[in-house]
């Protein structure tokens, strides 16, 4: 019944096209990234050179991998405060098995993945079964892992650091795959950047073009409503926690292989940075809305600002101030966008 619509309706259609662009969750982060890049590019020649790009893409890459999966989790309506510490746990498992027990590095990496998935499943099952906020559940996981990281490492090695991964069997292959570099326009870029792009691409595809993506939006938007139309809400959430843990494994392994040593206390505080990047990328704290690409751009903004401040010759202490302001701005923008998207037209 597409009868000839009155001219008024045509105008409505025009507005909704504009609206569709405005309600893209990535919009804020894209604008933010352009502004940040333009600002630091005028301040520092190194920043805008290709070498500079390779430098600020480096911290953005591992952060980006985590930000993307945290974005999926937040779209699914949950948080994971243990994600930062888990990058240390997974790295330590690889280090201890490969250096203290002489495992082949691939076996150690695989064992670390199993440990990560178990932790993720634990988080997910606890959240789903108890109905407690994931904030509290993963906060306790965060504290427990923090204690375990230090306790176990000290018990086995006698110090709070494990090193010497370069001597493990199979290290060179692992290094070229996880922590090597590749050359582009004569500049060396970190391989982790490719991992980041791959994770972001797969996450975006899953989110936008698979039924699991539809379920993720739905369980974050309204888990009860999703369940009532037959979405396996509990399974979706547990899966998201496990994917988050899997990404923490990837990042933990990349860092362990790259630096060949892991401090037992690293990763603490990173979980908040992941959430900040996801929020800058358009994720709502209330769930049901967001984007994996946005979270990647959020990580990019973070990497540019962290290095840009140094390139511009300022004290790095200013970075946190900038980050806080960026977060506040992002949350305000997101709220505005959401109100616009949800606003009923009668």
């Amino acid at each position: 019944m597409t009868s000839a619509a009155p001219p008024v309706d045509e105008r409505v259609a025009e507005i909704s096209r504009l609206r569709r662009i405005l309600v893209r969750p990535e919009l804020g982060s894209v604008v933010g990234a352009i502004v940040v890049f333009a600002f630091f590019a005028t301040q520092s020649g190194v920043f805008r050179s290709l070498d500079g790009v390779a430098i600020w893409l480096d911290p953005a890459s591992t952060l980006g991998i985590m930000a993307v999966v945290i974005a999926l989790l937040m779209i699914g309506g949950e948080f994971d405060l243990s994600a930062g510490v888990m990058t240390a746990t997974t790295g330590l498992v690889v280090m201890i098995l490969a250096t203290e027990y002489g495992w082949n590095i691939w076996a150690a990496i695989f064992a670390s993945l199993v440990v990560a998935l178990l932790i993720g499943a634990f988080n997910g099952v606890m959240v789903v079964k108890t109905g407690l906020p994931s904030f509290i559940v993963t906060l306790s996981t965060f504290l427990m892992l923090q204690g375990l990281n230090l306790g176990v490492t000290k018990a086995i090695t006698g110090t709070v650091q494990v090193s010497g991964l370069a001597r493990a069997p199979g290290y060179d292959a692992a290094k070229s795959l996880l922590a090597g570099t590749f050359s582009l326009f004569g500049v060396q870029f970190r391989v982790a950047i490719l991992w980041w792009i791959a994770v972001a691409a797969v996450a975006t595809w899953v989110l936008m073009r698979t039924k699991i993506g539809n379920w993720i939006f739905a369980v974050g938007g309204n888990a009860l409503a999703a369940r009532s139309v037959g979405v396996p809400a509990a399974g979706t959430k547990v899966g998201l926690f496990m994917v988050t843990a899997g990404a923490a494994w990837l990042v933990g392994t990349i860092n362990a292989v790259r630096f060949t040593s892991v401090q037992a206390n690293i990763g603490i505080g990173q979980e908040l940075i992941y959430i900040v990047a996801a929020v800058i990328g358009g994720c709502l704290l209330t769930g049901g809305y967001g984007s994996a690409i946005g979270a990647s751009i959020g990580a990019l903004v973070f990497g540019m600002a962290a290095n840009g401040i140094v390139f511009a010759g300022w004290d790095a202490d200013w970075f946190k101030l900038f980050l806080g302001a960026m977060l506040l701005l992002a949350v305000l923008t997101n709220n505005l966008i959401r109100r616009y998207a949800e606003e009923a037209r009668r």
């Binding site: 019944m1 993506g213 539809n214 939006f217 309204n222 959401r338 949800e342």
Partner: protein, 277 residues
């Protein structure tokens, strides 16, 4: 329109349902039938047990006693998914849709069409969009743009899309939880029209409401609940709109109230005119 003379088993039939929540008796001795192409209205005030009844019908709760039959065959649902698989679709008042998701994503939520094989199996977005447009048009629902978030639809449009979704997914019984309660007169009329459409397509409809004026024009049978018990199950020919309204509002209580109000009116003859507005 009331084809109550058929001998084949009713599409959906419950008998003597009882449900406790701890020591609270939420429902007791409730029986109802739904026939294909019929609308069974469940009426009752707040706390009458309407929600408990639909949650049993839709598989959220299991009854503590009583039988539940589909096509004459006893069933026991352990989740809403089970009920859906048997063709019982429920459209909840406030849970019908997820506001931040687009119309087409909501429409296929939980039953997404896919294409491709193995790890490349994906949500068939193009055909999902096409189907939504066609289905909504087929039921006379005019949505400006299937990409718009459901939150931007009016309440009546939301309910209508939810009904169209249930019809599309082959629901045989459609349970509607207060679909008109939050709506204005015009919007409620729109929803009632889609209820009638679903009925005419041969679905059995369970229409839960506390408004007899919405129930009467579209219903064939009326089950009136009060405090967890049935006040009667009437065919349309057995009860008039006035009687239904009276029963709904508590019958004798309403008479008493009317009487009291009447007395109040006559007790103060020659009143000062009430202030305007």
């Amino acid at each position: 329109m009331t084809a109550t003379t058929t001998t084949e088993p009713a599409l959906l039939e419950v008998e003597d349902l009882v449900k406790y929540f701890g020591s609270v008796i939420a429902l007791t001795g409730i029986s109802a039938t739904v026939r294909a192409g019929g609308v069974t209205c469940v009426l009752g005030d707040n706390g009458a047990g309407k929600s408990t009844l639909i949650k049993i019908l839709s598989g959220v709760f299991r009854p503590d006693r009583g039988s539940y039959r589909i096509d004459g065959e006893p069933v026991q649902f352990s989740s809403p998914r089970d009920a859906l698989d048997r063709g019982i679709a429920t459209v909840y008042q406030d849970l019908a849709m997820i506001p931040l998701m687009s119309v087409w994503r909501n429409f296929f939520l939980g039953s997404e069409p896919t294409k491709g094989v193995g790890p490349l199996r994906r949500f068939d977005v193009a055909s999902a969009r096409k189907i939504v447009r066609a289905e909504l048009a087929g039921m006379g629902i005019d949505i400006r743009d299937p990409d718009q978030p459901v939150g931007t639809l009016s309440g009546g449009e939301r309910q209508s899309v939810a009904i169209a979704r249930a019809v599309y997914f082959g629901a045989r019984v459609l349970i509607l939880d207060e679909p008109t309660s939050a709506l204005g007169v015009k919007q409620a009329g729109v929803v009632l029209r889609y209820v009638a459409q679903a009925r005419d397509r041969g679905l059995g409809v369970v229409f839960i409401t506390h408004n007899p004026h919405h129930a009467y024009p579209v219903g064939d049978r009326f089950l009136v609940l009060n405090r967890g018990q049935s006040l009667g199950d009437f065919a349309k020919s057995d009860i008039s709109r006035e009687e239904l309204t009276r029963l709904m509002a508590g019958g004798a209580e309403l008479d008493q109230l009317a009487h009291e109000l009447d007395r109040l009116g006559t007790a103060a003859p020659g009143p000062e005119p009430a202030p305007a507005g």
